[in-house]
């Protein structure tokens, strides 16, 4: 069973530059969450703060009763064993080939024999479609392959919490579809808590149970998928539907003139909410909720055509 992450009033700045302030959210145990936000809003910084690589200025991050923001170095190394993390650029060890990279956590933290390690490594390499590339050095493979190798390494210790920094950037659409399916299947299998940072709107709309949006140095919204997908809040609506009309401009924020010019423009209607991606065996995940439940419970009318099998944007499903 996954582990809950409780973030309260978290703030982080570098020097005088505030990255985000007063972020409060709870990543529920065993659920898949997606964190969105325009480039440079500090999503990667947020993930690094969650694993204690960066110290927040204020606030707390509670995981199994330990506050990551204030705990000792020793506790930190202990708690990190719960995590599997994929960095934005894969962060493979350049001096080792892919096999040794993926085997590294096993060799460091377990007493498994080399043949057991071989079996696990090969299984994970197969999972991410990298069989046959074990002997390559990270410098010799494409960015997408490095990402997938990083994914294999993140999963090798069967983590309770999985943090992915843009698993799908630099992957082709087919690989992205497979990867999304992989995330959903993994969650169904190991019940770990997933927090994924992505720019891929299709992923954000179909994969997670919860969505968060970082914007303009704060957490604009965090909640169940259907809540954000049916939200009329301008920033959320603009971002989740990849529209130009709205408060977000090319340089983070639009200025007053640009906003005034847009004032009379008709907002395009909200697109229908797609069905959530099912695990490939067809059995719903433990944390998955029936389509439309949140909308019904909260008296929100979903956009017309929502939860229709045929319009499902889910690729590969």
């Amino acid at each position: 069973m996954g582990v809950e992450i409780k973030v309260e009033h978290l703030s982080k700045s570098f020097g005088k530059q505030l990255i985000w302030g007063d972020v409060t959210l709870t990543v529920p145990a065993g659920e898949i969450c997606v964190m969105l936000g325009p480039s440079g809003t500090g999503k990667s910084v947020f993930l690094k703060t969650l694993i204690g690589l960066l110290k927040p200025d204020q606030g707390s991050i509670l995981i199994e009763g330990t506050d990551i923001a204030t705990c000792s170095e020793k506790d930190l190394y202990e708690i990190r064993k719960l995590f599997g993390v994929l960095f934005q650029d894969g962060a493979m060890f350049g001096s080792m080939n892919l096999y040794d990279n993926v085997a590294f956590p096993l060799r460091e933290h377990t007493k498994k024999s080399e043949s057991e390690i071989h079996e696990i490594v090969m299984e994970k390499m197969d999972l991410v479609g990298l069989l046959g590339a074990e002997d390559k050095l990270p410098g010799e493979i494409s960015g997408g392959m490095r990402k997938r190798a990083g994914l294999a390494r993140a999963l090798v210790l069967d983590p309770e919490i999985v943090l992915f920094d843009e698993p799908d950037s630099g992957l082709d659409p087919v690989r992205t579809a497979f990867l999304n399916q992989l995330i959903v299947d993994l969650n169904a299998q190991i019940d770990a808590t997933f927090l994924i940072v992505t720019h891929d709107i299709n992923t954000a709309r179909t994969v997670p149970d919860n969505i968060g949006l970082l914007y303009h140095r704060h957490l604009a919204m965090f909640g169940p998928r259907e809540m954000l997908l049916s939200s009329e809040e301008p920033v959320v609506r603009q971002f989740l539907n990849a529209q130009r009309v709205g408060p977000i401009g090319m340089s983070e924020e639009k200025d007053a003139d640009e906003l005034a010019a847009e004032k009379d423009q008709e907002l395009p209607p909200l697109p229908p909410i797609p069905l959530q991606l099912d695990p490939s065996n067809g059995m719903p995940r433990r944390s998955q909720r029936p389509p439309g439940e949140w909308c019904r419970e909260n008296g929100v009318t979903p956009p017309p055509g929502s939860f229709n099998e045929n319009m499902s944007m889910a690729v590969g499903g």
């Binding site: 190394y77 990190r80 995590f83 934005q88 650029d89 962060a91 493979m92 060890f93 590294f104 460091e108």
Partner: protein, 261 residues
């Protein structure tokens, strides 16, 4: 405004403090198990391979220059019988540790800073910490120990090559007598000279490696940051080594009175 200048002025103090704290962390890491034997051997081998040949090549002219200077000076005093001894003193006490420090800082330190800096900006160090492994224990401690070991041997190498170089120079070019050069070794030089040279080499090894690792692990701002880190680590190490060399020599002369011929 004044607070800005004050904070600017005090910045080096802060950096020195952080460097020192880093050094203490490394000390603590040395006693933590498991010891990274493989990394240690690889690093020792690597550092030795980048330093041995330049060291030997530097040591020969070093020994020759000293033989030349000392030989000339001593002739003016009419104390030719001390030529060998003076060369040994100069090489073993000062030239050995200094030449070693130049090569350890220039060749080994820059290589270490570049390696760790590249790992830092590729987020490898972050990834390592996230995998529950302390880079200080895993990467820094083996490098520091390897640097000490190699510095120790390099110092021995410089001493041997320097003294032999001086010998060849003295005997072949300055028409000195082979016997008196060797016989005079013990006239002024003494065994503690050798020990202090070795101790200096060990201390220099530690300083060079700690500075290089610190700079490398704190590289920031992409590939340019790595270049800066390498550059700074070499400059800082040089300055520290020359200061420490002076201090250690001064203390040595207080503790061990020079032998009178």
């Amino acid at each position: 405004m004044s607070s800005i200048t004050a904070s600017r002025a005090l910045a080096p103090v802060g950096t020195a403090g952080k460097l020192f704290a880093f050094g203490l962390d490394v000390m603590r890491g040395m006693f933590r198990r498991p010891f990274q034997m493989r990394e240690f051997i690889q690093q020792a081998w690597f550092i030795a391979s980048v330093t041995i040949i330049p060291t030997a090549l530097v040591a020969i002219p070093f020994g020759a220059v000293i033989a030349l200077q000392v030989g000339g000076l001593i002739k003016q005093f009419g104390a030719q019988s001390f030529t060998g001894s003076a060369a040994v003193l100069a090489v073993v006490r000062e030239a050995g540790p200094i030449a070693t420090s130049l090569l350890i800082a220039g060749a080994a330190g820059s290589a270490i800073a570049a390696d760790l800096g590249a790992r830092k900006i590729r987020e490898e160090l972050d990834a390592m910490m996230v995998l529950g492994i302390d880079p200080i224990q895993r990467l820094v401690v083996p490098r520091v120990l390897a640097c000490m070991l190699v510095a120790f041997f390099l110092n021995g190498l410089v001493s041997v090559v320097g003294v032999s170089g001086g010998y060849v120079f003295n005997v072949v070019l300055q028409d000195g007598t082979p016997g008196s050069y060797i016989a005079s070794f013990t006239a002024l030089a003494q065994l503690p000279d050798l020990w202090q040279g070795m101790l200096k080499a060990l201390v220099f090894g530690v300083i060079a490696a700690v500075v290089a690792c610190y700079k490398g692990m704190n590289a920031a701002g992409g590939p340019k940051g790595v270049g800066d880190a390498v550059n700074e680590s070499v400059v800082v190490t040089f300055m520290l080594l020359f200061i420490v060399n002076f201090v250690m020599s001064a203390i040595y002369f207080q503790l061990v009175p020079p032998k009178t011929g």
